[in-house]
Structure formats: C-alpha cells, structure tokens
Symmetry: D2
Subunit: 311 residues, 4 copies
C-alpha cells in the first residue's frame, strides 16, 4: 500500500449556539446529509460523496468553536502504532470507546500544544455515496442539494506553539509540510499547511495567542462554476460572506470564506495542486500573505478578519 498511516480528515465536532439553526445551515444550505442523532443530542452529517457515516457532528453549546478534529487511519494496527508514537513523543492520549460517536470505532484523542483536541480512529460505518458499486453513475440528485460539497477537506486552526505542532504532525503523524507563511520578522513559521496525502492540505495552523481556536472548516467543490453557485446560494440564504470568491495564492485554491449562524467560519473551495513526497515547501513572507496575494490573490490584501476572527 503506497498510502499508509493517517489517510484523511474524518470528522469534526462543532459547537453551535442553536442546534436547529446549525442543522438548517449545514443540511439545507450547505447541503450535507443528516445521518443520525445520538442520545447526547448531537447531530451527524456527511457530504454527499463521502462514503463514511459522518464527517460533521454538531453539538449545541454556549460558545461556538471546535470540540475536536479527527483523522481516519489505515487500520487498527496503525491506530495502536500512532497511539504509541504519540505517547513516546510525550503527548498523553485518551481512548474513547467505540460507539461513543454513532457508527464510529475506538478513537485515540490527544491535545496539541496549540490547545486543539485531535482524534485518530480506524473504523466508521460505510454508508456509501448512493451511487452503488456496479456501473455507477458519476453523481445523483444529492450532488445538487444546497451547495453540495464533495467532502470535508481540511481545517485551519489558530493557537500557540505552531512550531511544536508542526513537529508533531511531521515527525509523529507522518504529515508533510506543503506551504508556510512567515512571521513579520521572518524568523519563524506563522502559518503551516500540512498534508497526509496528495492533497494540497489536510490541516493547517496559524500562530495565535489563544489556544484551541477554529479559523475554518473547509469543504471541497468540483469546479470554479460551483464556487460561483456556492456564492449565489450563500447570498440567497443570507449567509454572511467573509472573503471571496477569490483565489488563495497559498495552495492556489479558489475559495469563499463565510460564517455559519453561530459565527463559525467555513470555506467552500476548489482546486489546489497535487502534492508528492518530493514536493519542495513553498514559503510566503508576511508581506506575501497580504500584498503578495497569499490570502487573496485577486485583491492582494490581508483582510483584517483573517487574523482576528476565530471561534
């Protein structure tokens, strides 16, 4: 198997201030499919093309933000191996028993020096994408319900100790640094974009004094036409847009940043290049992030909200 270890972003648990508003947003406007509710009152959703039971879990709470972000690993042996490596590195881990989340196996949870809770798991019930496995059509009606992203693609998290976080992802979890942005002084990484696959990013971090903050959850679209369609649907549903449509210089993705009803930022985007292990890291100076088009390649400016608005 050429791909081993951590294979992809699996699920995010998100705090929303009002559950019904959150469900309306992610199910009816973004167009995810509701796949279950548990006895804690949590609501599970998946994107139409995802095969696993759920990629987003909504939990009603008094403050918005991210409870945890999880990666699926190749198999149970990998889960145990990575658990061991995390402990060896000095990061305590916790085992969440199978079934604590609907249709999800045992999870290994740990807390990053940035204050974020990350989970690994090997098993989640396959519910399929509705297309079948024999002579399948390329899409179905679900592909056009709401904005209808293909998948939960990645997240961008804000917190302290980004250098430590980078080390953990690279050395312990086998991720690869794809791009980075520098501090104003140029002496350290302010932002890091990491992949565990051929995708241009599976997770990203930006240095920030408060721990455990969410900048955005990101959902993948298939074309720039779909990005315009997403903008239209956001507008028709009074979803407040932060930035875009535009292209990020960083990752080359074409994007919209917007906010859910609880103030959690989400992204719908397409594009980005294919990354291989021999990729040479791309660097964005602090000026490059703003005037250099790293954040907004069309407008070449550092929108203030990028550095200040998180949940």
């Amino acid at each position: 198997m050429a791909m081993t270890g951590v294979i992809r972003p699996g699920h995010a648990q998100l705090r929303v201030l009002n559950l019904e508003e959150g469900i309306h947003h992610y199910r009816d406007v973004l167009g995810m499919q509701e796949t279950g509710r548990d006895d804690q009152g949590r609501v599970y959703l998946k994107c139409w093309e995802e095969h696993d039971h759920s990629s987003l879990v909504l939990r009603e709470a008094d403050s918005a933000g991210l409870d945890f972000f999880a990666f699926k690993v190749l198999d149970k042996a990998t889960l145990d191996r990575l658990d061991g490596r995390l402990r060896e590195y000095g990061l305590p881990t916790e085992r969440i028993p199978a079934g604590e989340m609907l249709e999800t196996g045992e999870r290994v949870r740990f807390t990053l020096p940035s204050g974020h809770q990350i989970e690994l798991y090997a098993e989640k019930t396959r519910v399929g994408n509705g297309l079948g496995h024999v002579n399948p059509n390329p899409w179905n009606a679900a592909a056009e319900k709401g904005i209808a992203p293909l998948r939960l693609d990645h997240c961008l998290l804000y917190g302290p100790n980004v250098a430590k976080v980078q080390e953990i992802f690279e050395k312990v979890l086998g991720f690869q640094l794809v791009e980075r942005s520098l501090t104003p002084e140029g002496d350290a990484n302010m932002g890091i974009w990491l992949t565990c696959s051929n995708k241009v990013h599976d997770i990203a971090f930006v240095e920030y004094p408060e721990p455990g903050k969410l900048h955005h959850l990101s959902f993948l679209l298939s074309s720039w036409d779909k990005v315009l369609r997403a903008a239209d649907i956001m507008s028709m549903n009074s979803v407040p847009v932060d930035i875009g449509p535009t292209r990020h210089g960083i990752t080359q993705g074409a994007t919209i940043y917007a906010w859910d009803p609880s103030g959690n930022r989400f992204e719908t985007f397409m594009g980005g290049y294919t990354v291989y292990p021999d990729h040479e890291v791309l660097t964005w100076t602090f000026e490059g992030l703003g005037e250099g088009g790293g954040l907004d390649f069309a407008q070449r400016k550092l929108h203030e909200s990028f550095l200040t608005v998180v949940t």
Copy 2:
C-alpha cells in the same frame, strides 16, 4: 510519511515514426516543454507544472508504441526494496545505470506478463515549474502554451495476463485496484484501473492478445473548460480525435482521446474522484463498459476503436 513506495508516474518513452513531427505534436500542439536531447537522438519533454526534468521521451523508430513506462519511487532505499520484492516474486530485473537517460538516476527495469517494460527510479533532476518557491504565482505563460496539460497522469496498456499484472501491482508494488471492467462472460477482469496515490488511476490495463501494446498516454487538465480548449486546439492543428469530448463512466474523468502523428493515442482529461485505501472497488460489467457508459458516459456505446486500435 503517509505516502511511501511508488509515488507517481515518472516518464514514458514513446516511439514515433518521424521525430520532427513528434516534437511538433508534443511540444507545439500539446504544449510540453523540451528539456533536452541526448546522444541517442532522444528528445525529452515535461509538462509545465511538473518539477522533474522530463516525463516524456520521444524516440524515432520504424513502429510506433511504448518502449517503457516508469514510476518514481520515494527514495533509493525504496528502489532497492522494490527491486528485491520483484525478484522474490520471480520477475527478473535489470539495472539501468544513472545517466542513461538525461538527468535521471539509476533505473530498475522489468517486464510484465503483459509484455510491457516498466521502470522504477528514485532520482531525477528537479528543474522546477518556473513559479519559484517564495510568494509564487499560481501559473505563468507556460500554462497556456498549446493544450498545456499539468502532468503526465497515467497510461492505459493492452496485453495478455491482466490477472497476473494486477497481482504484481497490488502485492509487489503496493498499488490499489480502484475500478475494473469484466469480460463478456463476467468471470474475469478485462480491464483494471490501479492507483499508487489518491488519484483515481496511475496506470490501467486491458486484456489483449498481443503483448506490450499502448492504448494511450494520458495528460491532466485543470477544468472542463480546458477540455473544450484542448478540443479546439486539436481541431485547429488537424489532430485526429478518436472519442470525445465526453465523460468516462469509469473514473468519472472528462476526456478526449486523440492520436499523435505516429498513431499513438493520447488523452487529455480532467476530473475523477479522490481515492483512499478504504475505497471499495467499482465494477463495470462488459455491457456497462459500452451501453452502461463506462467508456463514453454521454453516448453509452462501446466505440470499436477502444478495443482494436493500439500501438
């Protein structure tokens, strides 16, 4: 490192009947960049977004077809390890010394039971994609020279013993079966589509009595608009088109098949879904390949040339 072993298609050596016509086609019409000529008279080209020295080598010969298709592996240790595994499996390998191909390290060559020569290598000079590594633009003028594909994406090869070939790619080289099409009797795989990455395919085979045949080399485009542009450029340059523009049901890619001046088929395509190790294989019945839209989802027919025209 989440991605190990074989990392991607690296280079193909193609026989053309007339070198100047071949160069004109691949450099001026397809829009690849010529990166060198060696003392054997071979001409080296790369796609604009590729970082390595070359992905296509043209050799003038009396008959068209493919000399060999090569994969880049992670590093020298991987090369040695895979060489060992091939020999253990019973496939003799040959070491081609570094420098036999321009800017390319030592290669391990072996012959598949389908009659195709496959190579592995770990080193090729990085020449870059012209965008630099600090505050890079997303593209440059090279991205619009000719059809301008992003990369050599995969190939489809025709020959006998596809079942054996599948075993070698899965068990020895760590590839993953993504889709397959069945024989008319439904008792064996007639076609197999394999990946060593997140891409929907890195190589594919179709059962065929004659060994060592090339169905097509495939080049990646970034959008369906670029597929129309490719069709226009082919037409303006009198490139004979075989099939398309259309969508393949198999892999979901949106595609054109056409022929170079020597009769070697090439493909320009976009799209396809993301594959992970937990992907469940998709199966196309023989009817599914034709009337089921596997080959041509728009027209739902089995174009005769698909099964009969190879080089």
Copy 3:
C-alpha cells in the same frame, strides 16, 4: 426602439408518439415547467427563465415532427404589417383566433416553400420567471430541475427551396443571414442560419427533398459546465445522444444533439457570438461542414445522421 419587427422564437408545437413519455422527457428530464393543458389534449411547457406562458406545445400524434414554429413580434401593429407584407410577397396567411392556444393572442400562420408552417403572434400571457421584479435573485431552484435550459433558442428545419425561404426571411420578415453552408457543387446555399436579433441564430434551414421536416429544436444553456451536466442527465435517463458534447464550427456553439422518446431531435447548447447588422456572412464549404469542423469542430467529420435523420 432599436429592436423592431420579429423579436424572438416564441413557441413550437411538436408531435410526440406518446404524450406521457413526451411530458416525462420535456418536463422531468429536460426540466421545462408544465404550464397548462387544453381541451385538445395539448400540453404546454416553458423553460424556467422564459417569462411568457409557454414555448413548447406537445401534441400526441401518429408521427413525430413539428406542427409549426412561431415567432413573437413587437406588437399588434407589427403583426398586421408583417401579415400584409407576407400577402404582398404572395404567401397566403391564415389568422388563428386568440385563445386557440392557451394564453396566446391571435396568430398569423403561413407555409414556407420548404413546407414548414410558421406563425407570428404579438401576445402571450406573461407568467414570469419566478424571480420577481424587485431586488431579484439571479436564479432559483427551477434553474436546476433537470437539464433546465434558459429558453427555446432556435430550430433547424429541413425542406426544399431554401433559397426561397432565405428570401422570405430576409426581405419580408427582416431577418439577417449570419452563416451559410454551400452545396457540394458550391453553387448554392445548402444551409442557412438566420437571426432576428443579436443572437447567432433564431432559425436555420437545410435543403432537403422532403418538405416540412424537423432537424432539431434547440434549448440554451448558460455554460460549458452545464453542457456536461446535460450530457450526464441525458445518460442517467437513457436519452439517446446523436452528437456531442462538442463545438459546432458553425455559430461556435458548444452542443449536444439527442433524441426525445418520439425520435424528435433536440439540442442543448451554449455559446455563439454576438451578431450585429454589419456582420459579414460566414461561409462553410461542403467540405467545411464536415472535415472543416462546421458540424463537429472537435471531430471534423460529417456525421451521417446530420443529413439523414429528421422527423
């Protein structure tokens, strides 16, 4: 008023062999909206962006084909004026009273030397496109129901006496010749593409021995992405495709030709250039129609069905 006289294609009455199958095709697959049924059993439909009551009328009959194709004219005075000009020219006209078609005013009907019945009318009830007139959204859910074309755009009709037909459209009805294709001998127009607007065509004719034949009714899409989506939807609904997706050299439109369940050809297309009164006619030689890419710019061939399959 800069635009006078005939303003646009208004409605087509189409014969289908089975009404329910016809309704299913045009309403559920193509995605038109059913707006009425009359006491003759005819079914009325409109495209989502059209404001008038109906653009397509289905009539069940023993043979497929076109009953008549109608143009809306500026106003009642224009209707009377054009009626007079047709009679002066020597073409008998018939007045169909208001209300014979649902929500449609008086119609002037005449028969072309090609055997086709053409109608003019000035009044049809405005039902709107569902977006309203104050702070309107750019589209709504109806824009994604089925293939969802914007409008009935034009038709291509086959019959004898194309030269006479051209004279009538140019001299009597004020149309403009935009493109033409020549006979094999090059001594006459085999095909003519005419506009009454800035559109690249509002009606077209090809010389054919049998009178009154329909080659296709054409429906407008907004993008090449929508053409691929149309191909996918046709395939998923087992709609037989004749040609495409491809681009016509003639008019530059990007297109699919396909057949409804009765064998009437229809087209879904996008693109084409803007035409003004000072446009210089473009000419396609007979070879240009085929090998020159006039019909199929990607494949540069004269599909036999183009010249032989009509209803």
Copy 4:
C-alpha cells in the same frame, strides 16, 4: 431588419496620465490590439473579436477620465435621422468630420445633461477579427493574449440629471430601460441600465453631483473561468482590484472592477440575461443595491468606492 437605429457601443476615448503606462495596461495586460496612432498622439486599440478598427482611444492628459463614448448606428441615413431627432429634442449637435479619428466616418456629437459627450457614427473601417470568413476557426492566439476580452461592452457614467438622460436615451435614441436602482428615498431613479440591443446593458448612468464622470468601461469575457483568469492576470501585473470576483445582482453579470494606472476603473465580466422589447424593468431599492446584493451579490454590501471613486 429587426435591429435598427443605434446598434452598439463603438468607441470610447479615455484620458490617461501617462500614455506608455496606459498602452501597457490596455494592450499588454488587458490584451487589446493596437491598431494605430494618429498625429494628435492618440493610440487606437480593439478587442480581439471586434471587427471594426478600434473601440478604445487613449489620449494623454493631465487628468484621467472619459472624453466621449460613441455608438455605431445602422447607416448614414440613421445618423442623419438621429441627429435631427436630437436637435428637435433641443440638444445641440456637432458634426466631427470623417477622418478626425483614424478609419472612422463622420461623427455626430452632443452633450448629455449629465455632462457626458456622446457620439454617433455610421462608418468605421472593418479590419476583421483575424478568423476569416470561410470555414473559420472559433478563436486564435489573440484570444489568449492578456485578459483578452471579446469586446468593449458598455460603460457606467456618473453625473447629474439622470432622469433627463433616461428620457433622451429612451425617447430620442430608442434605448430600453432594463434595470434601475432607486434613491434612498425611493422617489427617483438613482441608477439606470439601458440597452439598444438584446444585451442586458449597453450604457448605464448613476446620479452624481459632478458632471461628466466615468465610473467604468466594461469589457466582455466568455466564461466565469475567464473571470478567474482575469483576476489572476490582474494580480500578476499588480493591477489594483476594486471589487470581485463576484456577481452583480443587477444584470446578473459576474465581474471584477479594477483600476488602470491612471485610476480609470474598468470592468471585466461575463454573463447577464437576454433582453427583449417586452422585458419588464427590474427595480433595485437603495437597500437592494447594497444589502440586497445589487452591487455585490456574494457579499451583499455597498462598497463605498462604488459611490465615491470616479474619474
């Protein structure tokens, strides 16, 4: 002839602060073709798909802005007729002799109550779009030089007395009101969008205290993909972007507003719907212009620059 009178925007004469910078911008970045220079030092350019000699004339001056905007009319008789109607209405006209502009016939010039100079002319040398008239290709290399718009599409002008201007365009010149935005009080039109064709606008005005101001010249692209490409090219060339990429609610066009080196705003856009004489005017309230998405449908805000930055 169904289209009579004024047929389309013809040319704009623009003041730039530095001629070489202006030429670089419009020729090398926007990608227009330079077609001549006259003995006054003016530089003439056309878009690649335009057939007439020139659509943009650059004049070096101490202040940026628009000297005049011109429409082509059907023929010499129409020119005389419209000249007469303007005088009857009470607007003095001036005849500029043929040849005062390169390759351009006699022009009728008048000043609107908004302070803008408008011209009409019937003759300009046809230089063609480079594709020929027999078996033409749909595009050529010129279609990809710079941003490469298809044509000068329309302009938006700011000045006083918009109600009077509307009357002149509707009653004297035969234009049609397509959309309008209301003043904050809702008692008058603040903005008007007018067409002389099937296009969604050929000229537009916004009420403004200073006379003769230019908001933007607008250039047409063929797809939303081309809008992203335009954004990329602007960014790569350090062209300052005002708004976009986004969609206007008004006209539905997908757009970027940006500034040339002299501070003249220009637009590159695609889309908009087809307008006919029976179109019912769409109205945008003042809130609709901003929060209703009239200006920026994605972001639903009234960018301050829209109301304040003109040349």
